[in-house]
């Protein structure tokens, strides 16, 4: 199929957001307390990208979907027990750190190398999906850097929808300032799409999908390439969790404009 896509979703794993995430100083720089022992999930932003990618592949005949993920192998395997039940996928595993404090440039280089090694990958058909942001530290630059490494210049961030056209082009709905969307038409792949939330709900777990994925997933985990990401040259001056603030005031019949004004005032005080 000439108009088919090769969708590669880059997604890492992050600690379950319900867990206590307490920054600590480790031998390799900042880390989260007991991070390896905390239950992990697929980064929620990237998870949206995965579901959208799977949906796109279903719509456009001949398309394929890969999930490229760098994380400690055992941790990745655990997360895959859930993720593999969501959508049919092929995993490309990279055994490396999933910490939010890892260097985004090195991470991007490693991920780009992993994408290049995918058997049968055709960069001219590549749609590189990922999260617009990350639940690990919200840097939101890794995906752009992977795109740069792969020489992809058409990049969209804050994507909420992709609509493929019959001529091989596709329309992208992108979030922009002022709570508005921008519609762009891209002539075709390759392109980078950093997803916001998209419009699809999280698919239910389906062990039958999982069992089908497992046939390729476990071998992929076994032959996971080692991700070379070091902390050399990276220095964090300070790491803190966001302050929790809760100031409740009950006011009746306040006009919305006034509420908005007060909120803006409160935010700009920060």
């Amino acid at each position: 199929m000439s108009n088919s896509f090769q969708v590669v979703v880059c997604a890492s794993v992050v600690p379950d957001p319900l867990q206590t995430l307490e920054p600590v100083s480790g031998p390799n720089g900042p880390a989260l307390k007991n991070e390896m022992m905390l239950p992990a999930i697929l980064d929620p932003w990237a998870a949206h990208a995965l579901y959208e990618g799977a949906n796109l592949v279903k719509q456009v005949a001949g398309s394929s979907l890969w999930l490229v993920s760098m994380a400690p192998k055992a941790k990745l395997q655990q997360v895959m027990m859930t993720v593999a039940q969501k959508v049919p996928l092929q995993l490309v595993a990279v055994d490396g750190p999933s910490s939010g404090f890892a260097d985004a440039h090195q991470t991007a280089t490693t991920l780009a190398a992993a994408v290049r090694t995918i058997p049968g990958i055709d960069l001219s058909k590549l749609l590189l999906f990922g999260g617009w942001e990350s639940a690990s530290r919200s840097a939101g630059v890794t995906l752009q850097l992977v795109g740069e490494e792969l020489g992809i210049v058409d990049q969209f961030q804050g994507v909420d929808a992709i609509t493929p056209q019959t001529d091989g082009s596709f329309e992208v709905l992108e979030r922009i300032e002022g709570a508005r969307h921008q519609v762009s038409v891209c002539a075709g792949p390759p392109a980078v799409l950093g997803w916001a939330t998209g419009s699809l709900g999280e698919p239910r777990n389906d062990p039958q999908v999982g069992m089908a994925n497992m046939r390729t997933l476990m071998p992929a985990l076994q032959r996971a390439m080692a991700g070379t990401v070091s902390s050399d040259g990276l220095h964090y001056a300070n790491v803190t969790t966001p302050k929790q603030q809760r100031q409740t005031r009950i006011v009746k019949d306040m006009p919305t404009d006034e509420v908005a004004r007060e909120l803006v005032h409160w935010i700009t005080q920060e």
Binding site: D16, L18, Q19, T20, E22, K33, N34, M36, M37, L38, P39, P72, K73, A74, K75, Q78, M81, T82, A84, Q85, R204, N205, D206, P207, Q208, G210, M211, M214, M218
Partner: protein, 744 residues
């Protein structure tokens, strides 16, 4: 390398045990299919199920549309299809006992009624799976399996109808009032049967499309009892009946149905043969339910354990946050950080109930795994028996007398060191599937009722304790983790599929099997060996308690009461039932210890666990020790009551005086044995006056061995409270999530 009990344990539990730990403990670390199933069941439990509970759906007895959404969730998440083999539309290959146990565990973590709703469908299919004809299996499994995406078919739901409205609401599964008669039987045609039954407390009845119904013959042309499949739409009355006004498990549908139907004889589960003009069912209802219940009871047992373990996190969070917000607890103060966990009692009690939860889960999952192994062995056994022309029932029992002897011989050989074994004989016996079946069956016959009895009974008491640790909050609908519901539900779990008395009765028979006892004897040595390498686990305490139990059992087999009546006999439930209770404590504790050893062995290979493994092992060792001490205490108390309790206490009468010293005797003996007066307790004066007490102290003649063991057991408790202190401290420091992860 041996570790020292007195070693200072620096590392302690860092986070609540997560999936990696559980997968090793319960032996499914290498089963991706089961790991996925767990995630899938968890998503349903903490999503749709938890939302229904939080939404107040437990306040109605009726089966509502909202409750029915659970069935859809079960179908879509693969829970319904677990029971089926791949050729029937399922996706799990091989035995399903562990899989079903894991589902029950995950669902019951949030609501046991939802777990029951799911399992009751399997219970309906289980008679067909275990004893059904190939045609019956093909029809009902394919109807019950959820449709593939894109196909428009509603899956059939099933119910299992055994219980009847017998007088005084008693449940004697051996006696049935449901009746089966021949309605029509034309020459050369299949007989039509008329079935009448009033069921009681039948789960899934609010929506079932087919029901497996236990009935007895009321016609001389039908022999004995059987189980018959009836379908909605069969000619006659298929009345679902009124919803049972139960106070618990409201997310499962329970009704008292009425059936008055005509069905073809091919609906008899397992088929039938016609002998001299009589329909002889191939399996009696008893044979079918025996095959079914011994598997499905394990899952019910695990429901109670899941709830107990699910209580840990909400209790910790409640205890720590108890004083936050008050004037006296400012951030940074100990009162703010630890709340109630400043107090030892709160922590000790939580450690105790956590230990019970772990032990119950260990026992239940061990039983489930054992049935997985036994399923394939049983098939092999049946093939061998068929090939040899040995029929089921008495012929099989007779055949197995020799097999059991071989199994005992294998155990004797195993007790020898490898170089002293008769190699050829040993290898032959070890490879003999019949011998292996006999050995495992003997253990399974004990583990199943033990898990059902202990997990639910002890679990119910521990759940009450869990509630009490949440103060008044615990008994409200707002209590995080739905603890009050979970506590009340446990009472029903103790009743489902045979109440506690049934399990005790079952155990009182199966635990007397020589094959079981011989293996139990080996387990004592196994615990001693573990204790040598892991002295902080309480394994040695447990070994002594097991020894005491075994001594007591053997003693009770031959001892009589004060009137000469035999002690260990079927009718004497005051003897047999408590001894069964004591055994359950020991079995649960043993399995918990074995799981700990598994974690210690396999844990280091898992890089995710490596970071905190030492602390996890230390904490779990302490929980094992706490539980071993508790089990030893319970077993010791019960055994002492049974050993001494049936002897008549001496009185201040002529017979009693014979065992006492007289004052003048002591005076004369004092010259020969100085100091004897100080040791003599029962001294009678010349005027007949005696010490102020019930009578002379009872003689322990013949029970010295018991006394030595009991005394040793008391000494074996050394260190148990230190373990509890350590566990308590660990609980006060363990990191927990910011919030409970359900309802989602």
């Amino acid at each position: 390398m041996a570790t020292s009990v007195s070693r200072v344990r620096c590392e302690t539990l860092r986070t609540l045990p997560e999936d990696n730990v559980r997968q090793i403990l319960w032996r499914f670390a290498d089963r991706c299919d089961l790991q996925m199933l767990v995630q899938s069941a968890r998503e349903v439990a903490r999503g749709p199920v938890a939302r229904l509970v939080a939404g107040g759906l437990r306040s109605t007895h009726e089966w509502t549309e909202q409750k029915a959404t659970l069935l859809e969730a079960f179908d879509q998440s693969g829970i319904t299809a677990v029971f089926m083999d791949p050729e029937q539309g399922g996706y799990l290959v091989g035995p399903k006992n562990l899989a079903l146990a894991l589902i029950a565990f995950e669902l019951a973590w949030v609501d046991a009624g939802a777990a029951t709703c799911s399992l009751a469908g399997c219970l309906a299919l289980a008679p067909i799976h275990e004893r059904g004809t190939p045609e019956q299996r093909a029809r009902y499994m394919s109807l019950a399996v959820p449709p593939l995406p894109g196909t428009d078919r509603k899956p059939w739901r099933g119910a299992f109808c055994l219980t009847e409205p017998l007088p005084y609401v008693g449940v004697d599964t051996g006696i049935l009032s449901g009746k089966l008669r021949v309605a029509e039987w034309d020459d050369g045609k299949e007989p039509l049967l008329h079935l009448e039954k009033r069921g009681r407390f039948i789960t899934n009845m609010g929506f079932a499309n087919f029901v497996t119904v236990a009935v007895d013959s009321a016609d001389e042309r039908i022999k004995g009892s059987c189980i018959v499949l009836v379908e909605e739409g069969d000619p006659g009355i298929f009345d679902r009946g009124t919803p049972t006004r139960k106070l618990v498990h409201q997310l499962s549908s329970t009704c008292d149905p009425i059936f008055n139907l005509t069905v073809p004889a091919s609906r008899i589960i397992g088929g039938y043969t016609v002998k001299d003009g009589t329909i002889v069912p191939n399996y009696s209802h008893g044979e079918v339910i025996e095959a079914v219940f011994k598997r499905t009871r394990v899952t019910v047992a695990l429901m109670s354990s899941a709830k107990l373990l699910s209580a840990v996190e909400p209790i910790i969070r409640y205890q720590r946050g108890r004083f936050r917000g008050s004037e006296q607890a400012k951030a940074g103060m100990l009162r703010y950080e630890l709340g109630l966990q400043q107090r030892q009692d709160a922590l000790h009690r939580l450690a105790s109930l956590w230990a019970i939860g772990e032990a119950g889960a260990s026992l239940g999952f061990a039983a489930a795994r054992l049935y997985d192994e036994l399923d394939s062995l049983e098939r092999e056994k049946n093939e061998i028996l068929d090939a040899k022309g040995v029929r089921r029932g008495k012929s099989e029992l007779k055949f197995f007398r020799d097999v059991n002897q071989s199994a005992l011989e294998l155990l004797r050989q195993e007790n020898n060191s490898p170089e002293k074994r008769k190699a050829v004989c040993y290898d032959e016996l070890k490879a003999d599937p019949l011998v292996q079946f006999a050995l495992q069956d003997a253990v399974a016959n004990v583990l199943c009722p033990a898990a059902k009895l202990w997990n639910t009974g002890t679990g119910a008491n521990a759940m009450r304790e869990a509630l009490s640790l949440m103060g008044g909050y615990g008994i409200t609908e707002d209590c995080p983790g739905f603890l009050a519901y979970k506590w009340m539900d446990t009472q029903l779990e103790a009743t489902y599929e045979g109440p506690e008395a049934v399990q005790r009765r079952n155990l009182s028979v199966t635990m007397t099997s020589e094959l079981f006892l011989a293996q139990f004897q080996q387990w004592i040595l196994e615990m001693r060996r573990i204790a040598e390498h892991r002295p902080g686990t309480g394994a040695c305490t447990l070994a002594t308690a097991m020894q005491l139990w075994l001594w007591t059992y053997r003693h009770l087999q031959v001892a009589t009461d004060a009137d000469g009546g035999a002690l260990y006999q079927s009718a004497r439930q005051g003897v047999t039932f408590p001894l069964a209770d004591a055994l359950c404590w020991l079995l649960a504790s043993r399995q918990q210890t074995l799981d700990l050893i598994e974690l210690e062995t396999k844990g280091p290979a898992n890089p995710v666990l490596a970071e905190g493994l030492e602390g996890t092992l230390n904490f779990f060792s302490d929980l094992c020790h706490i539980q071993a001490a508790r089990a030893a205490g319970e077993a010791g108390r019960i055994c002492a009551e049974l050993v001494f309790g049936y002897n008549r206490h001496p009185a201040w009468d002529e017979a009693g005086y014979k065992g006492c010293y007289r004052n003048d005797e002591l005076d004369s003996l004092e010259g020969l044995i100085p100091g004897i007066s100080a040791c003599a307790t029962d001294v009678v004066s010349e005027d007949g006056s005696h010490p102020v007490k019930a009578g002379p102290c009872a003689s322990c003649h013949g029970l010295e061995a018991f006394q030595r063991l009991r005394s040793k057991l008391d000494g074996c408790l050394t260190g148990a409270q230190l373990a509890k202190d350590r566990a308590a401290e660990a609980i006060s420091k363990v990191m927990i999530p910011e919030a409970l992860d359900y309802p989602r």
